[in-house]
């Protein structure tokens, strides 16, 4: 049933998008697929001029590449990395109207049911990464922000450059640290304490247990391949069952529920009304352009320290 928003009603229910066969003869543009060797496939997010920000096409290319690797019986391990200077800068805030990738422009004005279904579908994309039956390794360098960080978090292993930058910014400073909660797989109150703003380096991410290994940037690729190589020795069916066990364990520990809370919150945020003094992405984008918005947001997100009172 068409809903007038570019997707079918049935897609609002959970489905694994690797189950389609659309990836055959796929024209890879914004994500490249290659075999490093018999057992290791590598996917390169390829929008370097946009810092590999996610738009609809890149999600599709990525899905097709994941699907392709999954259907290749020789492949045991999949590496995902970013072209250019960054792993990924999150959702593409400059996406044209009508794109599913947020921010969905308010002028599109979807019904609540439309928007809810869309958010649910978007969250389950990451669920499908977690549930992927082969071992996934995110090779992170440069910025790994927002949706890109959620994606990396959904992979099994993160190997990162020491100076990589993980974080979440949201549409405005009011979202700091909240939107990322369900997918921030530290499950540790200790790591959260005093961290309303969750921006950390690759080195710190490894110390906190968010990443598995941090190395200098020039050693990143070799280190990632080393991990892929050793993990490709594992029996593939046993890995699939073990991953299923881990994903099920995450559901039992509340991951399914937090996913739901996550997209509920996102749906609610679609209807946020900004006060005049608050930073409004859509208004700023209209008046000052995306660069102007980003500049203003950086200033609100890191306010200058209040001057100390004189004694």
């Amino acid at each position: 049933m068409p809903t007038g928003f570019g997707w079918n009603f049935k897609t609002q229910y959970k489905e694994c998008f690797y189950e389609h066969n659309d990836y055959r003869e796929w024209d890879f543009q914004t994500a490249l697929y290659e075999k490093v060797n018999d057992r290791v496939a590598r996917i390169t997010l390829n929008r370097p001029d946009k810092r590999n920000a996610f738009n609809d096409r890149m999600f599709e290319d990525l899905a097709a590449a994941m699907h392709k690797a999954n259907d290749d019986p020789d492949v045991r391990v999949v590496i995902i990395r970013g072209a250019g200077n960054h792993f990924g800068a999150g959702h593409d805030l400059s996406s044209p109207e009508g794109e599913e990738s947020p921010p969905v422009h308010p002028s599109v004005n979807p019904t609540l049911q439309d928007y809810y279904g869309f958010e649910r579908r978007r969250c389950y994309k990451y669920d499908d990464i977690t549930d992927y039956p082969k071992i996934t390794i995110a090779q992170v360098h440069g910025k790994c922000i927002g949706a890109s960080q959620i994606f990396a978090a959904s992979c099994d292993i993160i190997v990162t450059a020491e100076d990589a930058q993980f974080g979440i910014r949201g549409f405005g400073s009011q979202l700091h640290g909240l939107t990322e909660y369900p997918l921030w797989p530290m499950w540790s109150n200790k790591a959260y304490a005093g961290r309303a703003v969750t921006e950390i380096s690759g080195k710190e991410a490894a110390e906190l247990g968010f990443a598995n290994k941090a190395v200098p940037l020039d050693k990143l690729e070799a280190e990632t391949l080393r991990w892929a190589q050793v993990l490709s020795n594992l029996p593939s069916e046993a890995v699939a069952v073990t991953k299923e066990w881990m994903s099920g364990m995450q559901d039992i520990m509340g991951m399914g529920g937090t996913q739901r809370a996550h997209y509920h919150a996102h749906t609610g945020l679609q209807y946020v009304r900004f006060r005049p003094e608050e930073l409004n992405l859509y208004k700023e984008k209209r008046d000052k352009g995306l660069k102007g918005f980003l500049k203003d947001r950086a200033e609100t997100a890191t306010p200058k320290a209040a001057p100390k009172e004189k004694k």
Partner: protein
């Protein structure tokens, strides 16, 4: 009792795994003796704290992999059993961990040397684990195509570290184990016994009647976080894992063991990971 020793002193019950020649690996006999001993320890009003430890150079190297009298610890391929039988076996395996986890007395694992596989699971289900700095923790089950089946991994060390340790099967020492929250404390090998006795004595000063409900309150939090369902889910996944197929080019622990013996099979199992784990 031969594979498990028991000694009671100053309100502390010492349970010693005693197959030092076999690195205290768990076989059917050891589990049967534990099954018999633990309810007695639990009911004994004179014992306030139970300490698990290993005789000889190791705490416990995990399952006895010889395949001889190990029905309770390991499902061997080619066993033609009904699903009901398999299910019962998997349930018993996990319910033993669940029972020790919920034992109505505080438990301390005193870990030195190897603490691998189910040995590591035993240390995880204890309330407190104190280890020697050079103790070796690890769970290499997946290398043999077996399901690493301890739900507490995810609760104790988080998702990313769980995946890393279970996928690579690498061992970590006591210091790293303390850092990531797998154990409470790592101390120099020579201080281990004193440290454990000190803590056990301290706990034994508590009101005995208060300790059991206090432990139960803590465990009920874990129950609320899903641990009860997790044990059961793990049974099912172990059952599923028994149906796996090994590809021809994949290392098959059981057939290599049959052809070349246990020692060669373990060496062949660990060889591809050795260099990686040393450099990790």
């Amino acid at each position: 009792m031969s594979t498990v020793l028991y000694e009671k002193k100053d309100g502390i019950g010492y349970i010693t795994l005693n197959r030092p020649e076999e690195l205290n690996a768990m076989n059917d006999e050891m589990l049967a003796e534990l099954d018999e001993l633990l309810p007695k320890v639990e009911m004994d009003l004179d014992v306030k704290v139970a300490v698990f430890r290993g005789a000889g150079k190791d705490f416990c190297a995990g399952q006895d992999l010889t395949g001889v009298k190990t029905y309770e610890v390991l499902s061997e391929p080619g066993e033609h059993l009904t699903i009901k039988k398999r299910m019962e076996a998997e349930r018993r395996r996990n319910r033993r961990w669940e029972y020790i986890f919920n034992l109505a007395k505080p438990t301390i694992a005193q870990v030195h040397g190897h603490c691998l596989g189910t040995g590591c699971y035993l240390s995880m289900v204890c309330d407190i684990t104190i280890a020697a700095e050079d103790a070796q923790f690890g769970d290499p089950l997946l290398r043999m195509g077996l399901l690493p089946h301890m739900p507490l991994w995810l609760y104790l060390v988080g998702i990313k570290r769980t995946r890393e340790l279970l996928f690579t099967g690498c061992y970590i020492d006591g210091i790293e184990a303390e850092k990531i929250g797998l154990i409470n404390k790592a101390v120099p090998r020579d201080d281990l016994e004193d440290e454990v006795n000190n803590m056990a004595t301290g706990i034994a000063l508590m009101n005995c009647d208060a300790l059991a409900p206090a432990k139960d309150a803590v465990n009920s939090v874990m129950e609320a976080r899903g641990l009860g369902a997790a044990w059961r889910f793990t049974n099912d996944m172990q059952l599923v894992m028994q149906q796996r197929t090994m590809l021809p080019e994949e290392f098959n622990f059981f057939s290599v063991r049959e052809k070349k013996g246990l020692k060669a099979a373990i060496e062949e199992r660990d060889a591809p990971f050795k260099k990686f784990c040393e450099e990790r």
